[in-house]
Structure formats: structure tokens, C-alpha cells
């Protein structure tokens, strides 16, 4: 097992580089895994489905998606450059060798491999009873499988279902069948088709009518195995009048090879229901030359199906070598509301092409977009957003604000808004700004008694605060620290 790079010698130059000290999640867990041979075929998919003891309709869905996927070409419209991915050089299933996660068996903590527990402790996620986070129920996904959940009793009492998607397929097939692919059909795009064919695990959330979920729900994704893809599938259904706050966090070890992550997340909100979905994404970014890192190709979409339903996406994107991600809202119900709040930080050779789509269909639907991009080093940070108002969406309103902050002379930021309005009563506003953090700003703040760290923190918090306020408190503290840490050494 290769050594954690962070511990190999000291940085040679006096300037400590970002990845030398900052990616503290770069370690690899020495755990025995069962990993499928590389390659993708109908055989592999059948094997995968069999492994998970899935009902026939799931296999059928996978195969249909696969047959569609093979007819597609990888999209090239995003402004990201990366080596072409050979999808036959990836493994599509990797699981820690133990019983859990396979048959939807009970997942008490005693069943979890101590190495895994240690991994999550090291990631700052204590799983043991006494240390467990109060007020947050967690699901942990390690490579291809979900390895443990917390607070199951409390959730059960309220009728909230929070389990891995594999378990949901076994236990609640009728709900999964009804909603799987209902927001993101497998025909949606290349990566969604791929995910639909080979998705391994992810979370399933069902909030019954009128229930305000008593705790925040959280999933933590960890890619460990080498040359595997993580294809998680998350489905959140909020019934009439319900509410849920859902958080997800992600890390991956530091490896020279690329890792592939192609998730699909579907949210469905019924009448008067509200889903708040927050992400702090900190996948490994690759080294300063741009080697390694995670390719993050994600399709996230929420459907405001019922009237006056609300869905908000809040994301802090600080990791991945390449990000291709557009959490979107389909505003179907009258008076429904969608929101997208995003902070995206890129450094070194990272490339992020991210943004949102707001599709207004129902009457008097409303959407808000607030995007903050921070671009440092040689990185490229692109906001790409679509606001579409259909002929039926009388009285639709949108407000978009996209701000970019550039650090250093070589970083790039780009804002690409697409607006399509087919109803003359719609009001669509777009504002954009670009600013640059300069040595002079930092000197100015330091000459007022603030150390470098504090100065950077003030600048970044000032820039991002409107987004951070939409994160749940603990997440917001974590996000602030994460961004500060990442920025500290790339400024000045």
C-alpha cells in the first residue's frame, strides 16, 4: 500500500504549496476490497446487479441506460480540458470486504470494519455512539457502498426513511420505482446515462406528508479504491408539506491517477414541501502540475412538482481536478421556488464549469441564482447558467447574480448566462461582477493590524457571505475554514 504523500519529506521551496499541506484527506485506507475487473459491458452490469441482488426491473433499467449510453459521445461543450477517459479502464464496483451493504443487512457499528471507522474518524466524522454528531443523521458511502448510518431510531419514529439506495430498492421498491429517473431520465445526458447503467450506491430519503425532518440528514462520500469510478445515486422525495435539510460532503485520497465520479441526484418536492440540499465538495484536486485528481461529472436536478414547493441547492465546490456540475430546478408547480447558491474555488490547474439551470413552467414561479467564483493560480472558473421561462410560466421571476474574484495574474473567470424567455410577463434580471484580490489590498489590511490569514479570511468571507448564510451552521463554519485554508497560500 503506498504511503500517504503528505508525509514524504518537506516541501523544497520556502513557499508551501497548497497540496503539500492542505489536502489533509489525501490518505489511503489499507482495506481489503472486492473490486470488479476493469471494463464496462452488459456482463459487468448483470454481475453488478446480481451482486446487489436487485429485482429484475432495476437490471432492466440499467441495461436500457447502458444500451443508450453506448450510442452517445462524451460531451465537449464545457470549457474543460482533460485527457480522454477510457471507460473500459475503470472498475465499476469496489466494496470493502464485509457483509454490510450487500444484502441491505443491518448496519450496526459493531459490524463496521475498524479500519473504516478509523478512516471516518480521521475525516472528522466520528461514528461511535458517544461522539456522534447530535442533530445530524449520517449515511457514509465508501467507494461503491454505503457503510453505515446513524440516528436510525429517531428517524423511524417520524416515519422518515433514510437509507442507502441499495437498501431502498430492496425495502421500498414501489417508491424507488416511481421516482428513479423521474427527474433525471437516463436519456438526459452522457454521464446520467452512464450513472443509470452502473450506479452502485448513494442515499435515499423519503419524508412523509407533513413531517419536518427532526435532524439534518447527511451523506459523506469517500472514494478510496484506485481506478474505480464512484457512481452514486441519490433520491430525495419530500411529500406534501414536509421539510428536509440534506447535506453532503466528499473527499478522496491523493493519487496520481484520475478518479472518476459521476453522480446523479434527484429531488422531488410535492405541494408546499421544501428541500434544502447543501454540498461541500472537497475531492482531491490533483497536484500543482495538474496530475491526478477527481473528475467530477455530476447531474443534480430538483423537481418542484407541487404548488408552492421549494428547492434550494447550496454548494461549496473547492475540490476536483475537473468539475462539470449544474444543480438545477424544474419549477413545475405554480408558485414554486428554486434557488442556487454557490461558492466555487479553483486553484493550481483546477477547472470548474459549474452553474445551474432554472426551468420555469408553472405560474408565478420564482428562482434565485447567486454564484461566487474564486479563481487562483492557473485555474479556470466558469459559471454557466440557463434561465428558461416556458410559455406557461406567467409571472415568472428570476434574479441572477454572478460574481468572480480573481487571485493572481494567471487565473481565469468566465460567466456564461443563457436566458430563454417565452412568456412576456416574465421578469429576468442578471448581474455580474469581477474583482481582483491584490497585494495592495492585503497590505492595506495588514497595515491595519490584521495578519495574513485574517486578512484573507475577511476578504473571502466578505465575498462569499451571502452564500454561506444559506448553509447550515456547522457546514458554514467548515466551509469558511476550508476556503480560507485553500486560499491562504495562493495569495501573496
Amino acid at each position: 500500500m503506498s504511503q500517504n504523500k503528505e508525509q514524504e519529506g518537506l516541501p523544497t521551496s520556502s513557499e508551501v504549496r497548497l497540496e503539500d499541506r492542505e489536502y489533509q484527506y489525501g490518505f489511503i485506507t489499507p482495506i481489503e476490497s472486492e473490486t470488479f475487473a476493469k471494463g464496462l459491458s452488459e456482463e459487468i452490469i448483470k454481475k453488478l446487479s446480481q451482486k446487489k441482488q436487485e429485482p429484475a426491473w432495476v437490471l432492466d433499467y440499467r441495461l436500457k441506460a447502458y444500451r443508450y449510453w453506448v450510442t452517445l459521445n462524451e460531451p465537449t461543450w464545457a470549457q474543460v480540458n482533460y485527457e480522454k477517459i477510457d471507460f473500459n479502464e475503470l472498475s465499476y464496483y469496489s466494496a470493502p470486504k464485509q457483509k454490510i451493504g450487500e444484502e441491505g443487512a443491518s448496519k450496526s457499528l459493531e459490524d463496521i470494519d475498524p479500519e473504516l471507522l478509523k478512516t471516518f474518524e480521521r475525516l472528522g466524522i466520528p461514528l461511535s455512539e458517544q461522539k456522534r454528531l447530535t442533530g445530524v443523521a449520517m449515511d457514509l458511502v465508501f467507494d461503491s457502498v454505503s457503510v453505515g448510518q446513524t440516528h436510525t431510531d429517531l428517524l423511524e419514529k417520524h416515519g422518515v426513511i433514510f437509507c442507502s439506495i441499495s437498501e431502498a430498492i430492496q425495502k421500498y421498491p414501489e417508491i424507488v420505482k416511481k421516482y428513479l429517473g423521474s427527474v433525471v431520465p437516463y436519456t438526459d445526458n452522457f454521464y446520467a446515462a452512464l450513472n443509470s447503467a452502473v450506479f452502485t450506491d448513494g442515499s435515499f430519503v423519503f419524508i412523509p406528508k407533513g413531517v419536518k425532518c427532526p435532524v439534518d440528514l447527511s451523506t459523506y462520500f469517500r472514494i478510496n479504491a484506485k481506478e474505480t469510478g464512484q457512481f452514486e445515486r441519490t433520491l430525495v422525495v419530500a411529500e406534501e408539506g414536509s421539510f428536509v435539510n440534506y447535506l453532503e460532503g466528499c473527499t478522496a485520497p491523493q493519487r496520481d491517477e484520475y478518479q472518476m465520479h459521476a453522480a446523479v441526484v434527484e429531488l422531488v418536492a410535492m405541494d408546499f414541501a421544501e428541500i434544502k440540499y447543501s454540498t461541500v465538495q472537497n475531492w482531491y484536486t490533483g497536484d500543482k502540475k495538474g496530475r491526478g485528481g477527481v473528475y467530477n461529472f455530476v447531474t443534480k436536478r430538483g423537481k418542484c412538482q407541487g404548488q408552492s414547493s421549494k428547492i434550494s441547492w447550496t454548494q461549496v465546490e473547492s475540490g476536483s481536478a475537473v468539475t462539470w456540475k449544474y444543480p438545477s430546478c424544474v419549477l413545475l408547480g405554480d408558485h414554486s421556488e428554486g434557488a442556487f447558491y454557490s461558492v466555487a474555488l479553483t486553484h493550481d490547474y483546477m477547472q470548474a464549469d459549474t452553474g445551474t439551470k432554472m426551468i420555469h413552467i408553472g405560474k408565478n414561479t420564482k428562482s434565485t441564482i447567486l454564484s461566487k467564483g474564486i479563481s487562483t493560480g492557473n485555474s479556470r472558473n466558469i459559471y454557466r447558467g440557463l434561465v428558461k421561462v416556458m410559455p406557461s410560466a406567467t409571472g415568472a421571476r428570476n434574479h441572477s447574480q454572478c460574481d468572480s474574484m480573481l487571485v493572481g495574474a494567471k487565473s481565469k473567470a468566465l460567466t456564461i448566462p443563457y436566458i430563454e424567455v417565452k412568456n412576456s410577463t416574465a421578469v429576468v434580471e442578471h448581474e455580474a461582477s469581477t474583482s481582483r484580490v491584490s497585494e495592495e489590498q492585503l497590505f492595506y489590511l495588514r497595515s491595519r493590524g490584521l495578519d495574513q490569514e485574517k486578512a484573507v479570511s475577511l476578504l473571502v468571507n466578505g465575498f462569499c457571505k451571502d452564500v454561506f448564510t444559506h448553509l447550515p451552521l456547522e457546514f458554514s463554519v467548515e466551509a469558511v475554514k476550508l476556503i480560507e485554508l485553500k486560499l491562504e497560500n495562493s495569495v501573496g
Binding site: 474583482s435 491584490s438 497585494e439 495592495e440 489590498q441 497590505f443 492595506y444 489590511l445 495588514r446 497595515s447 491595519r448 493590524g449 490584521l450 495578519d451 495574513q452 485574517k454 486578512a455 475577511l458 476578504l459 468571507n461 466578505g462 465575498f463 457571505k465 501573496g492
Partner: protein, 249 residues
């Protein structure tokens, strides 16, 4: 003595700017430094604040901390500020997203922390700031705007003086605090500086014009030329410069 600059030589981008500058400043004094463009006036202020662009090649700067003269070069820029050195910028920098009040609060408490004094609570602090802002004729809503963002030249300078009054340093270097000011703004800025100065602190005015010195009376006037102080004196020197320019040096 508060500040002792001894034979300071410094360069920026390989270009020699200061060529053996010496200057002593005591508490309770007001000094004016005049001189032609490019003589090194602004450079001196920036070196004292610790701007990273300058390389000191020779000489030393001592600064009094707790009754002892300390080597200023051993302190980081923010530590110098925390020890009571303030630089009023010729071109105050815009800092979007950070409000004036936030900056003042963070700065004030960073200084207090260093001095071992209890930090002030935000509410109490806001009142102190509002009072000083009112004294300088700064409208309250300016306090909650981004630092210097969209401010006119005069407003920026006034904002520097507000910081001066709130942070209450022991040594204030004010770099061309009068440039770009109309007469009313000049009066307000001068009022602020005169209110600030007392027997325990020192003010250094870097300026081109007599005008400022009509409002703030210096005890010492120095003429800086070609990286050195060529001549020192009192107000009579200012009058001579106004009449004859710098050619006689």
C-alpha cells in the same frame, strides 16, 4: 524617542530609492516631510509599515515598544500596526465585501489583543465609531459600505482619518493626506488630525503643499531629495519652498 531611522538605504525592483536617510521622532511632535516627486517620501512611509516590495540594503529603524528601542524589521507589517504604527495611504485601497465597520472592529480588537486589553463588544464599539464618524461628518451608512468602495477621493481620505481616530496609534504616517481634497475636506481632515495629536503620539505629514501645514502646524519640517533628508527646519522652510521650489537644494 519613538522612532529612530539611521542611515536607511532601500531599493525597489533594483532601483535605489533611499540613499542614507536619518530621522528621529519623539512623542508629542509633528513632523512634515516635503520634497519633489520621486524623492522617496512615500517609500519611507511604506518601508516603516513593512511593505514587501522594498528591500532594505543598509541602515536600521528602531521603534520604541514598552520603553525600549526595538528593531522594527523584526516585526511583520500587522505586528507593527498592532504596536501602534499607522499608515494613512495616499491612495486608500478598495476592499469590496468588507465593510468599514467590520475592518475597524477586527483591526481594533487585533490591536487590543496584542496590547493585552479586553476586546470591545460590537455594540459598544459601534457607538464609539459612530461618534467619531459624526465628528468627521461621515454619514452612518458609509460605515456599513465596503471599505472605500465607490468613495470619492475626499471620502477615502476622510475614511483614513476615521481609522486613525478609532485605532488611536502612537505613530501616524500620513502620506499625502491632503492630495485631491477641496478646501472643506481639507479642513475636516485637519480637524481630525489636530484632535488626534497629543503629547503621547507623533504625526508625520508627507506632503507637497504648504496648504495642509497652515491647518496642522508642524514642529519640524524636513526636505527629502534624492533619497536623503537634505535640510531640516521649521515653518520658514515651508515658505522658502513655496517661493523657490526645490531647485536650490
Amino acid at each position: 524617542m519613538l522612532l529612530n531611522v539611521k542611515n536607511l538605504k532601500a531599493q525597489i525592483d533594483g532601483k535605489q530609492i533611499l540613499k542614507g536617510l536619518s530621522l528621529q521622532i519623539n512623542a508629542g511632535e509633528v513632523h512634515a516631510i516635503m520634497g519633489p516627486n520621486g524623492s522617496g517620501k512615500s517609500s519611507l512611509s511604506k518601508i516603516i509599515s513593512g511593505h514587501a516590495g522594498y528591500e532594505v540594503t543598509e541602515g536600521e529603524i528602531e521603534y520604541e515598544i514598552n520603553f525600549k528601542m526595538k528593531n522594527l524589521f523584526e516585526l511583520e507589517p500587522h505586528e507593527r500596526a498592532q504596536e501602534g504604527i499607522f499608515l494613512g495611504f495616499q491612495y486608500p485601497v478598495e476592499v469590496p465585501g468588507v465593510t468599514n465597520m467590520m475592518l475597524l472592529f477586527e483591526s481594533y480588537n487585533a490591536i487590543m489583543l496584542r496590547q493585552g486589553v479586553e476586546p470591545m463588544a460590537q455594540d459598544e464599539f459601534n457607538k464609539v465609531v459612530q461618534q467619531k464618524a459624526e465628528f468627521l461628518g461621515i454619514k452612518e451608512d458609509y460605515l456599513y459600505r465596503g471599505v472605500n468602495v465607490g468613495f470619492s477621493g475626499g471620502e477615502k481620505k476622510r475614511n483614513e482619518i476615521l481609522q486613525l481616530l478609532v485605532l488611536n496609534p502612537r505613530l501616524a504616517f500620513l502620506d499625502e493626506i491632503d492630495s485631491g481634497l477641496d478646501i472643506d475636506a481639507l479642513k475636516v481632515v485637519s480637524k481630525g488630525v489636530n484632535f488626534f495629536k497629543n503629547k503621547n503620539n507623533a504625526v508625520v505629514l508627507v506632503t507637497h503643499y504648504q496648504r495642509l501645514l497652515d491647518y496642522i502646524k508642524p514642529d519640524f519640517v524636513h526636505v527629502l531629495s534624492d533619497g536623503q533628508i537634505k535640510v531640516s527646519g521649521g515653518m520658514e522652510l515651508v515658505h522658502k519652498l513655496e517661493k523657490q521650489g526645490y531647485d536650490w537644494l
